[in-house]
Each structure stands twice: as C-alpha cells, then as structure tokens.
Amino acid sequence: MSAITQTAENNNRGKNKNWGTWGLAALITAVIIFAYFQNPNVTEAVLAATVRYSIPLILGALCGIYCERAGIVNVGIEGQMLMAAFLAYMVNVWTGNLLLALIVGVLTGAVIGLFLAFLSVSVKLNQIIGGTVINILATGITGFFYVVGSTTQGKLGPIVLGPLASLPIIGRALFSNAPITYMAFILVAVSQVVFFHTRWGLRTRAVGEHPRAADTLGINVFRTRYVSTIIGGALAGLAGAFLTLEGVGSFERGMTNGRGFIALAVMIFGKWNPIGAMLAALLFGFANALQTQLQFMGVNVAHQFIGMIPYVLTIVVVSGFIGRSRPPAAEGTPYEKE
C-alpha cells in the first residue's frame, strides 16, 4: 500500500521536474520567435548551425547510450569518431564514391566497437583504459597517415524536402539537410522505441543493470554486450562520417576536437535516453551557434566570455532543471560467470 503511494509521489516529482524543462523549452522558443521577427535570415542561419553542430553529438551520445545501457562505459567515442572520419575521408579521396565512404566510416566505428567489446567483455580490461587506448591509437594513426593537400570530389549535399523546407523558422534548419542529418533524427526515434518497447531493449537494459539476474533468466550477457557495443561503435562511425562527408567535407588532424567527450556529457544530461540526449545535444548546439553568431556580430563583450556561453548554459541546465540522473547500475564492471 505504502509502496504504491510512494510510486505515485515519485511520478509527481517527475512531473514537477518536467515543468522546469517545459519552461526552458518555452523560453527558448519565445526567444527564437522574437529573434525571427527582428531578423529572419540570421535566426534561420543560427538554427541551421544548431542542427549542424548537434548531429555528431546526437550520434555520439547514441553510441554512449547503446554501450552503457548494456553496461560498457565507452570513453573511446572520440577515437571511434576520429578514425571513422579519417577512413571515410580517405575512401572518398580514393574512389569519390560517397556511399562507399559512408559505409566504410560506419564499419570503422563498428570494428573499433568490436575491439572495445573484446577488451571489456572477454579480456575484462578496465573499460576506461580500453577507451583511452582507442583514443590514443586513433590520434596517432590518423595523424601519421594523413597527407596534407589531398582533395575530395565533393561532399553529401542537402536533400530539400519540398514545401516543408520553406516553412518559416524551422524549415531551413530541419527540412533542407544532407542524408546523415535525417538519419540521425530517425535513429533517435528508432532507438527510443528499441530500448523501451522491444524485447531486445528490455534485455539489454537488464544486462546493464543487473547482469547476474539477466543470466539466471537465460539471457546471454556476453553476447548482449558485444552486440550493443558494436552497434554503438557503428553510430560513432556515422558521427565521424558526418564530419568529413557532410559537415566539413575534408579531414584535419584532431578534427573531432572533443566532440566524443561532449557526447558523453550529452548522454548523461539526457539521462541515458535517446530523446533526452537529442534535446540536450540541440540545446548545446544552439548555445554554440548563438555564441558564434554573437562573435560574428561583433557584440562588445570580450570573446572569451561569449565563448563560455555553451558551457555555462550546460552547467545551469544540468544543475537547475534536470535533477539526478542515474547511470545503469552495472556499467563499467566486467561480468564474471561463477
């Protein structure tokens, strides 16, 4: 009886938290609409930049969610993205086939995911060290093999979704994008359904929370962790491919520039939920786009302070609106069968 009341209380608490989130969303929407009436072009440009900046974070965070929901901590997202970005770029340079480059990027991520799964599940290496190994390898390998001056024959171009693209405010940002951007949003929705409405999702979450319990119910903990980490790797690979094939169009040394780590923050911020992570990534992307725009407009504030905006915003939101987020209970611990 009391337990039931307690559950109801928790739900209420959850609802109160949601008010904060909704309030923030309403505020941002109001600011955007106001800005649109002031200067439609700039506003649309900021929103488009928001989406562009968010995509690798969304995909990176999805990678983190797939791994951690199964109990594997992946701090190697940065390295997975970098290697995938590099190889996708090289394939594009050699063959000029963008589809092939994309596939190679995704596969690169998946193979590194397999490597991480092998280290964490089979070798039972400390997972933070496993991820760090991947980051160091990726920096070293891409730095060594990258040849300055190679050129590509183009990048993935936008697909304009007919009249949707001419909607005011959001049309340009959401419906006039290159394929990986659309894919990212579709993957968020698919992942949300997969984790919370399918058998596979239920089992994967169980493995991340209490692997022994899952084992006693006949669920193969090792296989689940392998599969999840490989899928995660493929998503990080897609994020890398986005950078070289869609975002920038070329490769530079260290071009991921910490996005893999920000993706981890985004994942935590989104409470290990795909949709939550997407919203977190968009917020971070928005802050970044705003910051760039403010610097561009020559606002009379030292640029260091403007550069802080995304980070300050993150701190405020995390501390004020999100509440406690709780990681999967078994993450980071290798499973030992008795």
């Binding site: 337990a3 399918t198 089992r203 209490h210 006693t216 119910l217 006949g218 209970a329």
Partner: protein, 511 residues
C-alpha cells in the same frame, strides 16, 4: 509412492580448497515440499545452482522424469520447467514488476513487447495463487516480502513444475513466513514440486513433506517431520550434540550505561529513517532490538556507534554525552562494536590478523610507545587472542580476508571483547555463521553481561533475540514501537510488532 520428478545422481563439485558436493544423490517427488537442511557451507546452494545450471558439476547426472538431462546453462533449466528463487533476489531494482516478471520470457508481437497482454497474465496468475502485487510498481520501492512474491511470480510466469526456494525466509517476518507457507501449499496442490533450502529447524518441521540433511557437502540423512524433533535435526545437521537454548541466569541490571534519547535521522529525501528513538541499556542486561531488515536498524546502529551523522538526539555512555561521529571517543569510553557488515566496517581484509586485532588500540601502550609501533607486542597479542577465541587460521600473519566468515567474526569478537568494555553493540553478530560459532558468540555475550557490561543486541533473527535478551525493543519504520520484558514476550506478539500490525491496532484503539 509418488512419481519421482527430479533426481541427482552422485553429483560432485569442488571449488579451490573445498569439496562443495560429494556424491550427492537426492530425489524430488511430484507435488511435495522437500526441505534441504544444512548449515551454511554444507553445499545446499551449490547443489541447487548446479540443478539450475549456474554451476556445472564435475561429475554426476541430473535426471528429470526418469531420463538423464544435461543442464549447462540456466536456459536449459528454464526449458525443463525448473525455476529458482535465489537467496539474493535476482530482480532489476529500477524495472517495474511487470518488466521483471516478463524479462527473458517476454510476451511480444515480433520484436515489440506486448505489455497489456503480459499485465493480464500476471494479474490472472496473482489471483490464482493469492500473490497480490501491483504490476506497475517499481521493484526497488517494494518491501522485501513483496519482492519475493515477484520472484515467485517470475517462476510461475514460466510455468515451472519444479520450484527451488533458496533460504526464502531469511528476509521475512514470522507472519510473512506463514503467508509464504500458505503460498507453497497452494503451489503443491496445483502440482508444483518444491525444494526448500533452509537452516531453520522450526520451518522445516512446519512445512516439509520430507527432509534431506546435508553436512560438509554430503547427504547425511533423510527423514520426515513426523519422525523427528528440532533437537534431532540440529544434531544431524551439526554432527554432534548441540545446545539450542542458551543457559543464562536472571539478569542483575545495574546503573544505566548506554542511553539514547530522541535520536532521529533524516535521509536525503527528508524521510525519517530513524524517528525519535529513545532507549536505555543498563549494566548487566541484554537489550534485544528486533525488527525486519530495513526498518532503520542499520542507520540507528551506525549513528549510535559514531559512524553516521544524526539530526537530533543524544548518545550517552556512562552518563557522558558523546559528540557526533567520533567513534574513537566512544571506543575510549568503553564501547565495543560488532558491526553488521564485517567486511566493510569490521576488518581490513588485506591486512594480517595481527593488525586487525589492534585496530582500536594500536596507538596505545603496549602496542605503541611514543608513536612507534611495537610489533612484538602486537604479534604476541594476536597469538594469544587466536587461542583464546579459537580462531582457525594458519598463522597470525594471515590476511583477515583469507579466513572463513565464522573465523572472521571471531577475530572481530576477539578484538572488541578482549578490551575492558562497558557497552557492547552487537549488530547481527551471528549472521551467516554455523551453529558452532553461533553457540560460542552467544555464550560470550552472556558472559559479558554477567560481568557487568550493557549489551545491545540488534538482530533480525527472532530466535536469537528471544533466547538472549532480557528486554526486547521492536523497531518498525524507524521507530521503537514497543519494549517488552523478554520473559513475558511471545513469538507471535513480537512478530506482529515487527510487521507493524500491532501498532495499527493500538492506534485504532486510541482513536
């Protein structure tokens, strides 16, 4: 004779250093409750884990319905209709009841979960077997008794024919235990066969159709409840004559040595985990604090031993108020503490016994002079205590972590009770120990009482409370709901108080 549904034939299993099962052959008949009785470490759980596929036997066979059947993985056992409720529940705390029950046996359309259909089936099952539970509750928010129902429902959801219950009553109140027995009877009526693992003699006699006794990895006897009494069972289980009742003279309570007044602890959510608790323990008496696990005893024990901050109240030892979170000061005033979690608060597992024996006194003579440790004195102290408290170890320099649970507990008891103590706080002092060690620790506590110490015994084992205490305080939801004279208290009365129902009656009467 009923049909044999499950049989093990000469199962052997060894772990490094021990032979956990040695030629174990048991037989389970259809629709019976078979009690598997034995001390901790007798090999009961090992055998069941082999049947459930969590361990693989070194040799021997498992037969189902008269045919050999290979069980290598839990998956094989589940397919054969075997279900197991583990001693430590195998539930996902953050999942709902529904998700926990269907996990691994999901009701689904293609890959998509069909929660509505699963909910229907769970509600039907809980009605059929009298196992009431809210399918949408989050498991970690449920009391353990209900969590156990979820475990049983999990097995029923998989349509088990054989149900293994591993120490199911360890976490239950006497009333919840009664309810469990009713459920077990219901199950056997519907054709389920049950293996019931326990070391509690009363329960075996109350519920079992047949009893198999194991000792040191071997089956040492088989009997029926009608043919034996508790005393016989205890002797068979331990392999020698045991005295179940602690012999003690009437208490001679003296001055108040340990006084707690109005102690409250709020947890993070501003709920009272301990709410305005007051009690006094006098010299020469044992106050038993009874209660089902999780009713604030752990928090209370940590607070009064100086390990946890409390929000209000005072703790006095021999009349002097103790400052908050200062265990050393309390130790210097004559407090001995046998903590609930011996690994976390009782010992430094990687350190040798020599150091573990002087954790409270390492900085005082004769173990240290002007800040320099005297290793010779420390070593001699360890050798003496090992002998006096009968610690089984290869040497005084063995790391504490290498000892068995019972011997680790003896090290703690030896360290705490060899000093000159006024107040003894013993929290679950015999949990997980064999009958021999329990006997020893009980006798030691009574001896200290007779020597004039004030003893606070915190235990969730009602039998322990009843046999040792002079007075009994019952804790429920962070409060002491009643304090009784042990001589006048009945098992039933305390059981009701532990479940909080007596309090409700009292409130109803008051209103």
């Amino acid at each position: 004779m009923a049909r044999t549904i499950l049989e093990t034939k000469d199962i052997n299993k060894s772990f490094p250093g021990t032979q956990a099962n040695q030629n174990v052959s048991i037989r389970l008949e259809e629709g019976e409750v078979l009690a598997l009785l034995g001390e901790n470490g007798a090999g009961k759980s090992t055998l069941m884990n082999i049947i459930y596929g969590l361990y693989n036997q070194d040799d021997g066979e498992i037969w189902l319905d008269g045919k050999p059947y290979a069980i290598n993985e839990p998956h094989d056992a589940i397919a054969a209709g075997i279900g197991m409720v583990h001693q430590h529940f195998m539930l996902i705390p953050v999942f709902t009841v529904l998700e926990n029950i269907m996990l691994g046996a999901e009701v689904a359309n293609g890959p998509f979960l069909d929660k509505a259909e699963a909910r229907k089936r769970i509600i039907a099952l809980s009605q059929d077997y009298g196992l009431e539970v809210d399918p949408d509750a989050i498991v970690e928010e449920l009391p353990v008794g209900i969590q156990q129902r979820v475990e049983i429902l999990k097995a029923l959801f998989r349509e088990v024919k054989i149900l293994i219950l591993d120490e199911p009553t360890a976490v239950l109140t006497p009333q919840e235990t009664e309810e469990l027995f009713v459920i077990m009877r219901n199950l056997t009526k519907q054709g389920v066969s049950i293996v019931f693992i326990t070391h509690k003699l009363k329960e075996v006699l109350a519920i079992a159709d047949r009893i198999v006794i194991m000792r040191r990895g071997k089956v040492v006897g088989e009997t029926r409840p009608s043919e034996v009494n508790e005393h016989d069972l205890a002797n068979m289980m331990v392999g020698r004559e045991v005295i179940l009742q602690v012999e003690k003279a009437a208490a001679q309570p003296g001055e108040a040595l340990f006084e707690i007044e109005g102690l409250s602890i709020h947890d993070a959510a501003q709920l009272h985990s301990v709410n305005n608790v007051s009690f006094t323990v006098r010299a020469g008496e044992i106050l038993g604090l009874a209660g089902v696990q999780g009713n604030g005893q752990t928090e209370l024990a940590e607070a009064i031993t100086g390990l946890r901050h409390y929000n209000s109240g005072t703790v006095r030892i021999a009349g002097e108020v103790m400052p908050q979170t200062n265990p050393r000061k309390q130790v210097q005033h004559g407090m001995a503490h046998i903590p609930e979690d011996r690994h976390k608060h009782g010992l430094i597992l990687q350190d040798p016994l020599t150091d573990n024996f002087v954790l409270c006194t390492y900085n005082q003579p004769p173990f240290a002079h002007r800040g320099v440790r005297d290793r010779q004195a420390i070593y001699e102290n360890a050798v003496e205590l090992i002998q006096r408290f009968d610690v089984r170890t290869s040497s005084a320099l063995t790391p504490a972590g290498d000892l068995s649970g019972g011997n680790q507990q003896k090290v703690i008891v030896g360290r705490e009770l060899s000093r000159d103590v006024k107040v003894v706080i013993a929290n679950q002092p015999t949990r997980g120990l064999d009958v021999g060690s329990i006997e020893y620790i009980h006798r030691t506590l009574v001896r200290l009482r007779d020597e004039g110490a004030a003893v606070l015994l915190i235990s969730s084992e009602l039998d322990e409370i009843l046999s040792l205490s002079d007075r009994i305080a019952v804790m429920y939801r962070g409060q002491i709901v009643s304090t009784l004279n042990a001589a006048e208290a009945s098992r039933e009365e305390i059981g009701l108080l532990m479940a909080g129902s007596a309090q409700r009656t009292m409130e109803a009467e008051a209103a």
